[in-house]
């Protein structure tokens, strides 16, 4: 008897479910394709939503990234322990070399200061740093980016430069309240104005999802050698000038590839540069000698 009572509504519910199921695929697929279109048309809106979702998930990502970071640290500690003698000898050698550099640096700094005073030079405004932890490596074969555990509430803003221990690794492209996304210099969409330190030649460094970004917009007669240092030029007023980025690793024909100074795959902590150009209007003007 009880079975009889339940069977009718159950059949109806099953029928409803079947209808919902039949149309859910089409509707959801339509929704997904629509979202793709919306993302293409209104990237700002979609980025805002993305930032909120990442914000909500960030604490979980933060917790999950800690064990992996601990294991990585343990492994590297064991590695360094096994080679502690060799490392010590190498460091002593390096120290001797660096002490010579230090003497040169002091001399140059004093000279620089004197010359600046003579020229009445206005230095770049002072900039401060924020330190953040990498909580997610969003990269893949198609995108190169990281998520960090600081956001708008901590003073992180879109466009700020992000440094690893040694050099520039990318810039902030999206800020949530407690999290932010860093677009790495190797990403397909990354373009940063740079300077070849030796020749003061201006160029743009552009990623293509490989490990070595390319140097773009160089004049045909530019003399670039393997080993040349590439630093930020400060054009555009977004970044301070002179942040080290990488070293020219290959210069064949017109394709020049730069090896980033910072090993991008092993970044654990990053520094965010809080920088304000003194006069952005000045910095926006094309500098003489800038190709194309």
């Amino acid at each position: 008897m009880r079975v009889m009572q339940r069977s009718r509504p159950a059949v109806r519910i099953a029928a409803l479910r079947a209808v919902a199921h039949r149309f859910s695929f089409g509707l959801l697929l339509f929704a997904a394709v629509s979202l793709l279109m919306v993302g293409k048309i209104d990237a700002v809106l979609v980025d805002g939503v993305r930032a909120r979702v990442v914000d909500a998930v960030a604490p979980i990502l933060d917790a999950m990234s800690r064990p992996a970071a601990s294991v990585a640290q343990l492994v590297s500690e064991f590695q360094s322990l096994s080679d502690i003698r060799g490392e010590n000898a190498r460091l002593k050698q390096e120290l001797a070399a660096l002490q010579q550099y230090q003497d040169v640096t002091f001399r140059l700094e004093a000279e620089n200061l004197t010359l600046r005073n003579l020229l009445n030079f206005t230095p770049d405004s002072a900039h401060s740093f924020l330190s953040a932890r990498v909580v997610a490596d969003n990269g893949g074969a198609f995108v190169r980016s990281l998520t960090i555990n600081l956001g708008y509430d901590n003073g992180v803003r879109d466009g700020q430069a992000v440094l690893g221990g040694r050099g520039l690794i990318g810039r902030i492209v999206q800020t949530g309240e407690h999290s932010a996304r860093v677009l790495l210099i190797t990403d397909l969409n990354a373009r940063i104005p740079v300077l070849v330190e030796r020749t003061q030649q201006r160029a743009i460094i552009g990623g293509d999802n490989t490990d070595r970004p390319r140097l773009l917009y160089l004049p045909p007669d530019a003399s670039i050698r393997v080993g040349d240092r590439i630093v930020t030029s400060g054009s555009g007023g977004m970044f301070p000038a002179g942040l080290p980025i990488g070293i020219v690793a290959a210069a064949q024909d017109s394709i020049i590839r730069v090896q980033p100074i910072e090993p991008l795959e092993a970044v654990n902590y990053v520094k965010i540069v809080d920088f304000h150009a003194l006069d952005p209007g000045m910095a926006m003007q094309p500098a003489p000698g800038f190709a194309q």
Partner: protein, 172 residues
Amino acid sequence: MTGDLLHKLDLAARHAAPGAVTLILVLVGVTPTHLPYYSAIAPMLPLASIYYWGVHRPDLMPMWLIFTIGLLHDVLTDSPIGLHAAILLLCQWVLLRQRRFLVGRPFVVLWGGYAAVAVGVSLVEWVGTGLYDLAVAPARPVLVRTVLTIALFPPLAWLFIQVHRGFLRAGD
């Protein structure tokens, strides 16, 4: 009455296991590994879960759940929003039509089916991202990523089988 409610709660929790495992794999997929060159070829972990449950318990992976998982994957991996939602929905659609050829067959057949799905997914990803960004992503990392995604299926499948046996009984 209380027993009935508890039983329902218990069943609901058990039935949530496939979705939960897939969501966890999305999160694990973006956890920094600190392995050199890994991030460029990071495999697509949730695909294995979608495939396994799509073949064995499609009733526990409704389309809306797959859509949500795809969206979260897009948000966290910085893919164009909606791309993986669409890809995973299409996967499920294909699986619902092909699963009777895969259920109860030897593991190698299951793995072969997964390989075909993974290759298809990578192709759609590559074309989709290319159209979206109007740029061609280098093919080699995509290829390595696809191979890695396929190679990681057996250990992941082992995990799913444990979840399957531990949480879900036949006829639940």
